[in-house]
Symmetry: C2
Subunit: 205 residues, 2 copies
Amino acid sequence: MAGRRPGGKGPSRIERERRAQLTRTTIDLVTEHGYAAASLARIAQAAGVTKGTVVYHFATKDAVLEAAYQQVLNELVADVGQAVDAVTAEQAPAAYVRRMVGHFAEHPKHARMIVESRLHQVSKDEDTPAGATGPARAERRQPLAALLTEARGDRSRAEGRDMRTLAVLVGGMIDAVVAEGLDDPTYDMQAAAETIVQMLEAELF
Amino acid sequence: MAGRRPGGKGPSRIERERRAQLTRTTIDLVTEHGYAAASLARIAQAAGVTKGTVVYHFATKDAVLEAAYQQVLNELVADVGQAVDAVTAEQAPAAYVRRMVGHFAEHPKHARMIVESRLHQVSKDEDTPAGATGPARAERRQPLAALLTEARGDRSRAEGRDMRTLAVLVGGMIDAVVAEGLDDPTYDMQAAAETIVQMLEAELF
DNA sequence: GTCTATAAAACGATAGAC
DNA sequence: GTCTATCGTTTTATAGAC
């Protein structure tokens, strides 16, 4: 494990810089050549260091990829969270959709990183079937479902509506729009986001 | 290359059986332990043969996975195509959604296989960014987009609607429902499919 | 604290025996 | 037509020099 220093102080300056450099390089590698191309040797070569250096700072190859993924995810959560907190509960779902699509439109690399990680970042449990990311996946739609329930309030039109399914559907639409935008840079993701908002609000209000 | 026989007859009986056995084994491996676990050695071991045998019938490892994927895809296309052809143009989109979800609900293994292949089945071109599956991905939504355009006819409500985006959104909702169903077997995919149909027809008619 | 050198295993694919 | 044996590469990780 890296970062084991005597005194209880935080990571050293060069420790933080090296880790940041390596995660940046890893993100580039994964987004440009796929998860399979992100071997220790390639990460090291791309960063201009040796394999030993990479393993020294991260202990294992998976730790590097996990760190890269977490960084991307943290930025997304912070960005969307801020946008949602800035509006009323009623406007929150629309803000969520717009910022989610907007974030990925502004950071296509991050979108690719998350798409690539979705499948590979599965648990190491041998008995876990592929694609079943377990709790991580189940929690993916939960924040949106909570926003929807709050926004709905006690409106009659939305009575009996299944907020879980609505969250699943809206989440799927967002994923699809992002994927389409990655494939075709000329695709108008913002316009598609507005269509999602309209369909969502037709169901909610 | 396998199957090179003197006379212009089709593949031999044992050729067909071996290939079928190996593709079946490969599908099981990929769906249960992920694409990364589908190495030549593991495929051979699971099928009770040697690596050489596998390579003899398929020439390359990717050819095995491609064959497994194509078989799954062919069954899906045949099933959904038949369902769509059995109804009027107006009912076709709803039939598409229902059979798509139904097929994956009945064949969870196939759903996992397709999800796993989505990322890895990228072109071998070094310059192709990860996640960009090129033409294959662009064509994914085309059949649905065609159904939507035909079903819409000349209805006023649907005038100016972007059928490409609608196809992208509906496709994304289907993917999300299938993924949710894979993660949680108790999830009511059929009910979710009906919600998709309702939202779709609200946009179309 | 950082690196070189290397170990040990798994990989895809081939050559050649039968 | 089918298999065994093996080649050459690449993988992750470690041991030890500096």
